[in-house]
């Protein structure tokens, strides 16, 4: 099927969504997505940041769609023409959505662990207004611990439902869900029931903001001071293949996460043992530095010219470090 997005044509499989077709093209025309997660079934459609204009429905029925549509949940038709960044209407609507997402968000980025790898921060930077027009108190919640390893700070939540789908689809029981409705709805567990499951830690990775954070990492460091390194281990959990990213500060592994792609989505889910319990270099086989986009704040401090202690003993890392060093000094 042929679909044209912002004038760029691409051939895709039937059943592909507009968003995924745009991701096949890549670049600036990819709509942002806060709630859609390609690895989670039924996710998407809620945050509305990925709205696009369909200016031609299909080859058979060329009528445009009457409203902007959520690109993550709309499948392409043959000959469809879509406008994303070329439509002022879409840009205006997206600006509105970003403003709405931020009016009740605390903007406590300086003390938020997610800062630097936060989808909402990136979205606000790219599409948001300089100043808010909202002049009222923001909605706040108490922080709660759900399980001994995960903290929920509901104040920051944008209700993307990703963690709900994660618990439904990759753990064997979901303890948390949405309580209440409207702008006072919240993610919570039933009477603060602990979330305890071999895969529960993945909700931290799928959370686009700092609402679900890793208690073993909270306030340890800023992500842009840490160095991501790909590693793996022989995990004996049947659902986990032990491929992770280790986040180093000096010689210490501060946290372990799943590997994330350029859209912030995990490549493969990892189990809680890998995530929370294996925090020594000796537990892992180092593969090499994790590639981080030059645009990300994480890469700004990436490799220093004093080689990391880990790097001293690992040839692969030394090689990568040299390249990085040359690039940094050239700039």
């Amino acid at each position: 099927m042929k679909v044209t997005i912002d004038g760029i044509a691409v051939e895709v499989e039937p059943g592909t969504t507009i968003l995924n077709a745009a991701r096949q093209i890549g670049g600036d025309i990819v709509p942002p997505a806060m709630c859609y997660y390609s690895k989670l079934k039924d996710s998407g459609g809620k945050c509305r940041t990925c709205l696009v204009k369909v200016s031609k429905g299909s080859e058979k029925d060329p009528r445009p769609m009457p409203k902007l549509v959520a690109s993550c949940r709309t499948t392409v038709m043959d000959g469809m023409e879509v406008q994303n960044i070329t439509s002022p209407e879409v840009i205006e609507a997206r600006k509105g959505i970003v403003e709405m997402l931020l009016i009740n968000h605390p903007l406590d980025c300086p003390i938020c662990d997610q800062a630097g790898e936060c989808d909402l921060q990136n979205l606000g930077f790219e599409h948001g207004a300089v100043k808010t027009r909202y002049e009222f108190d923001r909605r706040t919640f108490e922080k709660i611990d759900i399980g001994d390893k995960i903290q929920l700070h509901m104040t920051r939540c944008i209700l993307c439902y990703r963690c709900v789908f994660t618990a439904d689809q990759i753990t064997n029981y979901r303890y948390h869900g949405i309580l209440g409705r409207g702008d006072h709805s919240e993610i919570s567990t039933y009477i603060q029931h602990a979330v305890d499951n071999d895969f529960s830690g993945n909700v931290i990775d799928v959370c686009p903001v700092g609402a679900l954070t890793d208690k073993t990492f909270r306030f340890k460091n800023r992500v842009w001071f840490t160095k991501p390194v790909d590693a793996h281990r022989d995990c004996d959990h049947p659902g986990c293949n032990g491929k992770v990213t280790l986040w180093y500060k000096g010689e210490e592994v501060l946290r372990v996460t799943a590997r994330k792609d350029q859209y912030g989505e995990v490549e493969e889910y990892i189990c809680n043992t890998c995530r929370f319990d294996k925090k020594k270099t000796a537990d892992w086989v180092i593969e090499g530095p994790r590639h981080i986009s030059d645009k990300s704040v994480i890469s700004s401090n990436h490799y220093d010219f004093i080689p990391l202690p880990v790097v001293k003993t690992n040839l692969v890392l030394q090689e990568a470090n040299k390249e990085q060093f040359e690039r940094d000094t050239r700039l």
């Binding site: 809620k46 509305r48 409203k67 709405m100 009016i103 009740n104 702008d183 709805s185």
Partner: protein, 453 residues
């Protein structure tokens, strides 16, 4: 006096019981449909009648029925939407309360037409008395052989269930209703797929309003063409209007579509004019979510033609100078009512009822509510008016379900038509908390439009 089709026997003593209802000619349509007609013939009659959905959107019922997918070996369902919770609308409750068998009769015929073996009536949780009335009526109908196995010896089986909701406005949206019926959180689904393809438990489903289903009874009894003779243009048949607000005789009225609004508002047969000898200031014609209109624009269209109670005439002028028939929740405001306060009140409702699933509606309704609350209590700013219009525009059309639109329209239209009252509220804040703006020029005759050429 026009003939009533739905409420003909409403004054008969004991019409809520099966025996009296049957004596008055009830369940004749079931006999006619099941014994002499095929399901497709019933659908054809409804198509011919031009019946449009009475729940608010006005989508042709026959067309909706013909969209229903009919894969082999998959159950089909009919769900009656009795989650009537739009502020200003109370027609379905009235119908279920006084003449429940009409709904049951309509459900049997409609289920037969769609080939549904199990049907549900989803009733709003607050309507506990009506739920009991319906359950009693279903038991009576079952006793008489109109429900259950092999109805009237035709070989058609139907089980009818009443399901109480938990009291959420959002569950009146058809896909949220289906989620709730399945026992889940009442969040609207993302469409497509539409319920006609994958609805209740993934099976093809039709969701219809109480009044639409009740209207199937006279359509089958008298034929679709006869029914289509009533009304005007594409607005055929009769419509229940729940009149409220400052009218002399509030209540539920059955009108022929195409009745002039002036007659509906001022004739003694219907509303009987404005209570206490006051003058009309504004009207919400079809429940709280449709645009509010000032008196002059409501009685006459922008071209100075009298407005009629019909889908087309009320929508004349689009959203610039028109409104919608909606669900028929007619609210009249007299000269002593404050439009700012009313708009705030409506917005407060939508803020409270937003499901919180998609961001524009979740955050935007709360924002509008706070700004209007501030304005009503004398702390508004002139820039707030543009802010409200802008926020409502950002919500409208960008949400999963129509609740976002429903929240945005009253605000946008109130500011469009009553901007000077809003401005007065801001500039004369201290006065605005003690007295109302009054009628001002809202009932003045419309100026003649100047047309080019």
């Amino acid at each position: 006096m026009a003939r009533k089709l739905l409420l003909e026997h409403i004054k008969v003593e004991g019409i809520n019981t099966f025996d009296v209802y049957r004596k008055k000619g009830g369940y004749a349509s079931v006999e006619k449909a099941l014994k002499t007609m095929t399901p497709d013939a019933v659908v054809d009659e409804v198509k011919k009648s031009g019946l449009r959905g009475r729940g608010g959107a006005g989508f042709p019922t026959g067309m909706k029925w013909s969209f229903l997918a009919k894969p082999e070996g998959v159950a089909r369902y009919l769900v009656c939407n009795a989650d009537e919770s739009e502020p200003g609308t109370f027609k379905d409750r009235y119908l279920m309360n006084y003449i429940p068998h009409l709904l049951i009769e309509g459900m049997i015929v409609s289920s037969f037409a769609l080939g549904a073996k199990t049907s549900y009536i989803y009733v709003r949780g607050e309507m506990m008395p009506q739920i009991r009335i319906l359950e009693k009526a279903i038991a009576e109908a079952k006793n008489a052989g109109f429900l259950g196995k092999n109805i009237l010896g035709s070989g058609y089986d139907l089980e009818l269930y009443v399901q109480p909701g938990a009291g959420a406005y959002i569950c009146g949206e058809e896909t949220a209703l289906l989620e709730s019926l399945e026992g889940k959180r009442g969040n609207p689904r993302i469409k497509p797929p539409f319920p006609a393809i994958a609805g209740l438990w993934g099976c093809p489903t039709v969701v219809n309003n109480v009044e639409s289903i009740a209207a199937v009874v006279p359509i089958i009894n008298e034929g679709g063409e006869e029914y289509a003779k009533i009304g005007v243009g594409r607005s055929t048949g009769t419509k229940l209007i729940s009149a409220g607000g400052n009218v002399k005789n509030p209540g539920v009225y059955e009108i022929d579509l195409g009745l002039p609004v002036e007659e509906f508002l001022y004739s003694d047969e219907f509303c009987g004019g404005i209570a206490n000898g006051k003058r009309l200031k504004a009207v919400v014609a079809g429940g709280s979510s449709v645009p509010i209109l000032p008196a002059n624009l409501f009685l006459k269209t922008i071209n100075n033609e009298p407005r009629l109670m019909s889908y087309e005439s009320l929508a004349d002028g689009g959203f610039v100078s028109g409104t919608m028939l909606g669900s028929g929740g007619f609210i009249a405001f007299d000269e002593d009512q404050c439009i700012v306060r009313n708009t705030w009140n409506f917005t407060r409702f939508y803020h409270h009822e937003s499901c919180g699933q998609c961001s524009p509606c979740r955050e935007g309704t709360g924002w509008m509510e706070k700004v209007l609350h501030r304005m009503e209590y004398g702390h508004g700013k002139l820039s707030d008016l543009d802010l409200l219009v802008d926020v409502s525009k950002k919500i409208e059309g960008n949400t999963i379900c129509p609740l976002g639109d429903a929240a945005a329209w009253p605000v946008a239209s109130a500011i469009r038509h009553f901007r000077d009252e809003f401005e007065w509220h801001v500039t004369n804040a201290s006065e605005a908390v003690t007295r109302n703006y009054g009628l001002a020029h809202y009932a003045d005759p419309l100026q003649k439009l100047e047309t080019a050429g």
